[in-house]
Symmetry: C2
DNA sequence: AGTTAAAAGTAAAACGTTTTACTATTTCAA
DNA sequence: TTGAAATAGTAAAACGTTTTACTTTTAACT
């Protein structure tokens, strides 16, 4: 069964296609279409269940009312929660979100950008990875609104919304130090983006400011794409071989791997071994004892992302780039 | 900067639009275009970075190479994990997935269907909710491939892939009984879909088969859309007021609320109080003691969904409906 | 009574593709 | 040397909208 077109409606109502189009788009008044005709056409549309073909519409107008969201991995709870919030807020403004995961693959990221481009999404919300700078610069050059969140690419100048990773990390380490810890480890990834390096910088600076010598042996950089088993092995080595009394995990999935290790080697979290995880997760609240975490302000991040995007979409001219850094919250659990 | 069109390429190559189109779509040979021309055009396409406008393409061909995925909530780990798997597999076959959450709202579900429809997605993968039967029936009548997963709607006849909820639930309860439990509670939701009612039926049947009287007081039906605080309150009441030695949670988020209650009232899981959760979650593995769970076969579900969809998409005729029920796995953790 | 302005509506081009039906040239067998 | 078949390619219609520029009718004012 072919679906109805504007032509069918026009025929049924005995008016021109143009008239129907004006009515659909709420321009009837301004184009001086009579009440009688408006009512008639609207009734027919209602009864027939006609919905305009968005593809034809996009082809003609050049925009789609769709915002593309590119993230690392939708099955990571940080991203899925933020995706949900962004979707919610965009939806209320009449925008739809389509999202896809890069899985940290440069090739897939590029393909996704191409797919979104050839589908003419109106704007891009991206948690970027290294290696796609050129592609993104092209998007920007072509006049597409692009906004980064969570991660940033210093080479690209565009708006960015993210948490204050440096300070969150600094404060975490400081809280360890205040508890009297001296041998503080950092488990992080080797992804080379500011969002991650800032956590490292915060770690280092906090040690330095409190006159604790930095020890490279206590920093474990996990390769970003490896199997969890391998990660667990490396963390186990760290915990077994080094003398450690506190550890900061730079992402929630690293923390989860770390907790699995602790369970396996039967090491208890307590007075002589403290843990803080970056990015909250349901497992941390439930854990006994509760795992302290750095909570990213998801709601605020989503809010600001959407706010910036919508502002740009409704403006004729290119707005100035903004860097919105939102403090993260250290949640201490016992 | 306007993006290139096929026309630009044709002009540059000094050939017709038709020729370029044939080359792009790999029909050059069959349409007898000479090697020389093919090479020339391909080189130009390569150099210029031209990408066909998918919108125009969709408008003309009537399909989009996009599959719409409608789920309840992308921030629920069951859905986000399955979404990721489906996305992965579809991607490898050249299909893109766009997904959106219904949040258990009939209105939003209907809107999503309309949005997908007006964007001409090639197929629909839906975890359905009550109240959208009519809309889905229309999709099917219009000849769209539709496949349900996780949940089913008995009124609609279409393919379905899901876990064997009845037996999973039955086995869970049986394992309680084998441990000598007598007062077994069920915490479930009041969503009225087979996927949920089967879990209830399995619970009841297992009790019955082992001559344990069914007690309505031990079944708590949580309203599907309420705040977590309220849920926690109700579960707390159940745990405090009734004499219970085991509990099956029918979804992972209910189990998480339940674990929070246990932590709060300081009730320990152990010999005299057992727990099984439906749908695994990282928190369950990490929990001390580990929480036993019914693991849904995510990989197989995703696999079968995609397999059925692709089969339908590549077939001219409507294939017969299939109901694929996959056993779930009871994981006992100590 | 004649002019102008407003009201009510429409024809047709354009968006960027795919595809059908066609033309013109070359090859080759009889 | 003819004519059929193969080769190499193209013009134009169609997909379903939006929008510009236009026409016709009615009303309003001198």
């Amino acid at each position: 069964m072919k679906s109805l077109s504007i032509k069918d409606i026009a025929t049924k109502a005995n008016v021109s296609i143009t008239t129907v189009s004006f009515i659909i788009n709420g321009k009837a008044k301004e184009k001086s279409i009579s009440e009688a005709v408006i009512d008639k056409v609207q009734k027919i549309i209602e009864e027939s269940g006609y919905k305009p073909n968005q593809i034809a519409r996009s082809l003609r107008t050049g925009n789609s009312n769709i915002i593309g969201l590119i993230i690392e991995d939708i099955s990571n709870s940080f991203f899925s929660r933020i995706a949900r919030l962004i979707e919610d807020k965009a939806y209320k403004k009449g925008y739809k979100i389509i999202y896809s995961s890069t899985e940290n693959s440069v090739d897939k990221a590029k393909e996704l950008i191409n797919m979104f481009k050839s589908r003419k999404v109106d704007a891009y919300i991206i948690s970027p990875i290294k290696g796609i700078e050129e592609d993104i610069q092209m998007l920007i050059n072509d006049g597409n609104p692009v906004i980064f969140f969570d991660r940033n690419l210093p080479e690209i100048s565009t708006s960015y919304v993210g948490a204050d990773h440096f300070n969150a990390s600094y404060q975490s380490i400081e809280s360890f130090i205040n508890q009297g810890k001296k041998n503080i480890a950092l488990v992080t990834t080797d992804i080379n983006v500011p969002q991650i390096t800032e956590r490292y910088d915060g770690y280092r600076k906090a040690l330095e400011d409190h006159n604790i010598p930095y020890n490279d042996d206590l920093v474990l950089k996990i390769h970003f794409n490896q199997e969890e088993d391998e990660t667990i092995g490396q963390i186990k080595e760290l915990f077994n071989d080094k003398n450690i009394d506190a550890v900061l995990f730079a992402t929630n999935y690293l923390a989860i791997s770390g907790l699995k290790v602790l369970k396996k080697i039967n090491k208890k979290i307590g007075a002589d071994f403290s843990v803080i995880a970056y990015d909250d997760h349901e497992a941390f609240e439930l854990h006994t004892p509760g795992i302290s975490t750095v909570q990213q302000p998801l709601e605020e991040i989503a809010e600001n992302v959407i706010m910036l995007i919508l502002k740009q979409l409704s403006s004729k001219t290119k707005l100035e780039d903004q860097q919105i850094i939102i403090p993260a919250k250290l949640i201490i659990r016992e």
